[in-house]
Symmetry: none
Amino acid sequence: MSPAHTDVPSLVGAALPTPVPADEYDGCPVTGLLRLLSDKWSMLVLVLLGRQPYRFNELHRAIGGISQRMLTRTLRGLEAAGLVLREVHPTVPPSVEYRLTPLGQSLLGPLSALADWAVSNEAALVAGRHRAAAAASSGPS
Amino acid sequence: MSPAHTDVPSLVGAALPTPVPADEYDGCPVTGLLRLLSDKWSMLVLVLLGRQPYRFNELHRAIGGISQRMLTRTLRGLEAAGLVLREVHPTVPPSVEYRLTPLGQSLLGPLSALADWAVSNEAALVAGRHRAAAAASSGPS
DNA sequence: CCGAATCCTGCACGATACTG
DNA sequence: CAGTATCGTGCAGGATTCGG
């Protein structure tokens, strides 16, 4: 075991030389968060719930393009992580409200930073994409 | 079923699927960024390259657990997005250096915000995961 | 209205072997 | 050293149906 060949940034928590407890969670909190958020809808749901509480079909319509299955899955995942709270009102017909927990709300800041960057650098990203396309068609010919 | 056993050398080029993301850009810059970063390794590679330039196998060892295939794909994707620069030095043996473009470096800030949040709230996330596991084993029995 | 259950497809990803 | 070629697998994710 020779650590420190390339000292891993503290961002990944010096957790790369992991003891690997089980075959599930690899020990790095950043990786854990990424595995939670790296799906198609989680971040979008978080941002929407950050604005206001939503009921299930309200959210379904607000997103538009997500299947019921994936919305349920996404919400359950976020709920399991403690980011979203699910409130069932025993009315007829039943209604369920989803809102962010305080933990979920605290995630909105970092999320916004990423979103702001994406908006601010949209032009650069598009330009880079074009440069890459041009290089790909003229280069390896 | 295994149809043609006749060795067709290289007709089907589906070996390296999706050379670049190249997905249909849906118009939302945030979604575009998420589709770019929502894979298993992109963010980690960006963070590592944010500290220093790396050569291919250097990066391979530093990450530890990624396959050559995925490292290549990840780097190509980031390169196509204009976040990573690939420099080939025509030496013997050949060496290739990867570094962040200025655009890539500007992404480190927002990325760090997310990473810091993950570290700060690791305990809460782990607790949530345990609650979920307990509920899953006792609830739907 | 809320969601679970089922079926199905495609891609992300890994392991290995080979090349220049 | 830096990739490419190829095969196999698991799981994300969509469409639809059924139940409460």
